[in-house]
């Protein structure tokens, strides 16, 4: 059993209305991003980018919106390691964002939203 699944099972989250089920863990490609929609067709509709990494066997969710190009593209960026940190490089002009914190590496004053992720019974859940 994978660590994430185990961790997720420890607290009962299925009842929490904040969590949205996105997809199966297996649907996520390894080390590449996909885009997903939270709260589709409501005024809380949000685009996120999900990354499943083999480095530490984790799934990260960050905003899909690249504040530099003002386009929803971060899911289509390349996953990087910078020292010990994991990041995504925007496909437009290659700014890097920390997957865990949303902090931009090139510009201290910029950071993007991150979202908690849980895996329950092989389902990927995101809060936010």
């Amino acid at each position: 059993m994978n660590d994430l699944t185990k961790k997720a099972q420890e607290d009962d989250v299925t009842t929490d209305p904040n969590w949205t089920g996105i997809c199966n863990l297996q649907d996520l490609p390894l080390n590449a991003g996909v885009a997903a929609l939270l709260h589709a067709d409501t005024d809380k509709e949000t685009q996120i980018a999900l990354f499943r990494t083999s480095a530490n066997d984790q799934v990260y969710a960050i905003s899909n919106f690249d504040p530099f190009s003002e386009a929803n593209v971060l899911a289509r960026g390349i996953l990087c390691s910078i020292g010990e940190q994991l990041a995504v490089a925007s496909p437009v002009l290659k700014e890097h964002f920390n997957l865990a914190t949303g902090q931009c590496f090139e510009d201290e004053s910029v950071s993007i939203a991150t979202f908690p992720v849980k895996i329950v019974d092989g389902n990927v859940l995101v809060a936010g």
Binding site: C23, A36, F65, V73, R76, P91
Partner: protein, 842 residues
């Protein structure tokens, strides 16, 4: 009237131009008002490379002056006007067109003119000299009606002129009065070897010939009769019997001349009138005329400094030369004829490879005085530095010219031994010290170093040495240039390529595990994906490669600023049927895409959403299109002109060849994009000389140009090989491109790759044409493998249900991205600007 000092320059040749450049760069330039006479109809051009005019370099290419340069710096040029008299007491110069100009300082840079021996008949039609672009144009025109050409004079210029006749397709004779070729620069042994090599090329050499008359021929236009009773018939005749200083103006204005002509100058290049200077080939310094450009450049700087009241002096110049005559290396250093009392000689003659080398040393074997090299001049740089800098010779000086067959490497000198004052680039007078300074100021790659110092930008002969100085400095500074591609791999792209090949590594994760650390990044991942593709040519979206690809490669389209993609189907050679054009129009219309003809002769459809890509491509592929790889670092377009099929000037079917090239190399993943073009004749409508591989049809085959590009730092391609048949052209291209793929750095176009290569184009020719590394067979085999495994990635993708899932807008929804907004402009869509769109933030 301004109170600026008026400087007048007579003659806008190579040295005159150098003088203007020096003035412009001088600190008090604004205090001067500079005017130049230019007798020729063109401003200064590169006479040294004049012969390249016959290999496709145009008059514009030869120009030494960037368009607008003189205007921008306020220099007035009297183009096509000649100075006809100087009034030194009134300080004025009168021009042929009647202008009278005042001067405070006058500079004579009138160069020289070719000497034509007064043989009866020397002024007949179809007799030429070899000095200006006009001369060459006249020769070119005459060559169209000629079969045979002869050159009178077997010196350096005569042999160059002979090469021109060969290039013009004529049966060529060289007629020399002296008993050997290049009598001034080389000795009997070298001359004999040179003659043998030149005759191998089909040129007929006649030595010891005294021409007595030129008259009407029987089979050709002229008949030349010689003192020994023999005769030669020829249609064209070229005189190259030496040069004479152009000193008529100085003579008329009573400046001091040498006994046999030449304007006498002192160490500041002043003539007998202190306000009049003479520089270049018209100047006589210490009883000598220097017929080379480097001493002239030095004089230009000296005269400029003197006018600016700065300290500098002309103290003579070294006359050593290295040149390539008809592809043959010839070099002469210092005392080549061993005229120094008691000098000793060592000679090496290799009859099989046709190499001749001689060194002249001092009586005690301790110093090098001179050398002659024919057939192989690789030692030129080393030997020249040894003689110029008085470097002690090794115990057995012959080791300097004997071949190193045991693999121990040459006994040459380490550049480290050279003093700082050693002149490395003689054309531009750059010393080792100046190079070292530039390196420590940050010019740590060859291209930057030549840019910063000008070293190597003229004849190029010093480039290998400049490279050695660079490496030596970097090593000394402990500044091992970090060539690692990124923090994850302590290797260059080239090293990674070899690791992948040699260890047969097929995936990024294996390479990372064996040779890297961390998890990779946006630099190493696409680079390695490209290497894997060049080596094994797997489908780029295989699961193990997918995450490596830049978004363009991952979604097989170029991402635009708003996150949509462009669609560029291949339109090989720019040729397209009306039916296919209609399909593009229909697809564009159906999906409401912005449609544009690209700079690469094809059609780009912009504004496709991720989820539309597969459907659009399906329709295109069904209509017979395939991917254009506009997204990849790979072969882009092969542009063509319409060529001999339609064009009245076309020499060959340029469209067919462009199609062949494009289909052969399409999909080849490379360090950077590769572009090519084929033109049907020298008018060059396809702009082949701005491409990585450019081809121009000639009457007898294809001329191949390499390593050009447009873009940020445009560079003209160099002529690589001439009159190739199609098969050879393709063979060379296979080798060249594979060699590039294997050895270039990440994002290095072929131009920079070559410029950074020791030996540059010559080295590249050795590798690709002469197979000096013995790798050509392998390169061809590797290229064949890539060609055989070509696939249209879009076809593979739309045939694969699972892959199609990748193109969903969201993993949990098919809703379109509401942030992509278009507005209309000139009848088509374009991305909405910020102020035209509702704010959407996450």
């Amino acid at each position: 009237m301004s109170n600026k000092q008026r400087v007048l320059v007579i003659g806008n040749g190579m040295v005159g131009h150098k003088f203007l450049e020096a003035m412009i760069n001088s600190p008090q330039y604004s205090a001067f008002e500079v005017t130049t006479f230019c007798e020729e109809s063109r401003i200064a051009y590169d006479r040294v490379h004049l012969s390249e005019f016959f290999c496709g370099r145009s008059a514009d290419d030869l120009s030494l002056v960037e368009p607008g340069y003189y205007e921008q710096h306020g220099i007035r040029v009297l183009l096509g006007d000649k100075a006809v008299s100087i009034d030194r007491s009134a300080k004025t110069v009168t021009s042929e067109k009647g202008e009278v100009l005042n001067y405070d300082k006058l500079v004579l840079a009138t160069g020289s003119f070719p000497f034509v021996p007064p043989i009866p008949g020397h002024d007949r039609d179809n007799c030429f000299v070899y000095r200006t672009i006009n001369d060459l144009e006249a020769m070119q025109a005459a060559a169209e009606h000629s079969k045979v050409g002869a050159v009178i004079g077997g010196g350096l210029l005569g042999l160059e002129a002979a090469k021109a006749l060969v290039d013009l397709g004529l049966e060529t004779h060289v007629i020399e009065f002296a008993p050997r070729l290049m009598a001034v620069q080389i000795d009997d042994g070298g001359g004999a070897m040179l003659r043998q090599k030149i005759e191998d090329l089909g040129v007929k050499v006649h030595l010891g010939m005294n021409t007595q008359n030129i008259g009407d021929g029987d089979t050709c236009f002229h008949k030349m009769s010689f003192a020994d009773g023999s005769e030669i018939e020829t249609d064209m005749l070229l005189f190259s019997a030496g040069i004479r200083p152009q000193d008529a103006l100085a003579r008329d204005s009573k400046l001091e001349l040498g006994e046999r002509g030449g304007i006498v100058v002192n160490d500041h290049c002043q003539t007998s009138d202190p306000d009049v200077y003479a520089i270049g080939e018209c100047a006589l310094w210490s009883g000598r005329i220097y017929g080379l450009v480097a001493p002239g450049y030095k004089m230009a700087q000296v005269a400029c400094d003197h006018i600016n009241a700065e300290d500098n002096a002309f103290t003579g110049a070294d006359m050593s030369t290295k040149l390539k005559l008809m592809g043959i290396d010839v070099a002469s250093i210092g005392d080549a004829h061993a005229n120094t009392p008691n000098a000793k000689e060592y000679t090496y003659v290799n009859g099989t490879e046709e190499i001749y080398k001689k060194i002249v040393v001092t009586e005690d074997n301790s110093r090098l005085l001179g050398a002659v090299l024919v057939g192989d001049a690789t030692d030129y740089g080393t030997l020249l530095q040894m003689s110029l800098n008085d470097i002690p010779l090794p115990e057995f000086p012959d080791a300097l010219i004997l071949p190193q067959r045991d693999g121990n490497g040459a006994t040459g000198l380490g550049v480290d031994m050279l003093p700082d004052g050693a002149q490395i680039c003689s054309c531009n007078d750059v010393t080792k010290g100046q190079l070292c300074q530039a390196v420590s100021d940050g010019a740590t790659v060859l291209a930057d170093l030549t840019l910063a110092t000008n070293a190597g930008t003229s004849c190029g002969g010093c480039k290998p040495l400049v490279g050695q100085v660079l490496n030596n400095e970097l090593e000394k500074m402990g500044l091992e240039v970090n060539t690692d591609i990124c923090e994850h791999f302590p290797h260059t792209r080239q090293e990674l390529y070899h690791l992948v090949r040699v260890k047969e590594i097929k995936t990024f994760s294996d390479l990372l595990a064996q040779h890297g650390s961390g998890y990779g990044c946006e630099i190493c991942k696409p680079t390695i994906a490209s290497i894997l593709a060049s080596c094994w040519n797997d489908y780029v979206l295989e699961p193990e490669h997918l995450a490596l690809q830049d978004t363009n490669d991952r979604y097989l389209g170029n991402m635009q600023k708003d996150g949509t993609y462009s669609v560029v189907p291949r339109i090989a050679g720019g040729e397209i049927t009306p039916d296919k054009l209609i399909v593009l129009g229909e697809v564009g219309k159906k999906y409401n895409l912005y449609t544009k003809v690209t700079g690469g002769q094809r059609i780009d459809l912009f504004g496709a959403r991720l989820e539309q890509l597969p459907q659009i491509w399906k329709e295109l592929i069904d209509a017979g299109f395939e991917t254009g790889h506009a997204y990849g670092k790979s072969l882009r377009t092969v542009k063509s002109c319409v060529g001999s099929t339609w064009c009245r000037y076309g020499q060959n079917d340029s469209v067919a060849l462009a199609l062949e090239i494009e289909h052969r190399y399409k999909g080849l993943r490379s360090p950077h994009k590769i572009k090519s073009a084929v033109s049907g004749c020298t008018r060059e409508c396809a702009e082949a000389q701005s491409k990585d591989v450019g081809v121009i049809a000639t009457e007898t085959g294809w001329n191949m140009y390499v390593c050009g590009n447009g873009g940020m730092r445009p560079r003209h391609a160099d002529l690589f090989a001439t009159d190739l048949d199609t098969e050879t052209l393709i063979k060379y291209t296979d080798r060249l491109l594979m060699f590039y793929v294997q050895t270039a750095d990440r994002l290095q176009r072929t131009s920079v790759w070559m410029d950074n290569m020791d030996g540059g184009i010559d080295y590249l020719r050795e590798v690709i044409i002469d197979d000096s590394l013995g790798i050509c067979e392998k390169l061809e085999a590797e290229m064949a493998k890539v060609i055989d495994t070509y696939q249209c990635e879009w076809k593979t993708t739309i045939d694969d249900e699972e892959k199609m899932l990748m193109f969903r807008p969201f993993i949990n929804s098919n809703k379109a991205d509401s942030n992509v907004v278009f507005v209309e402009e000139r009848g088509q869509i374009r991305p909405a600007r910020k102020d035209e769109r509702e704010p959407v933030t996450a």
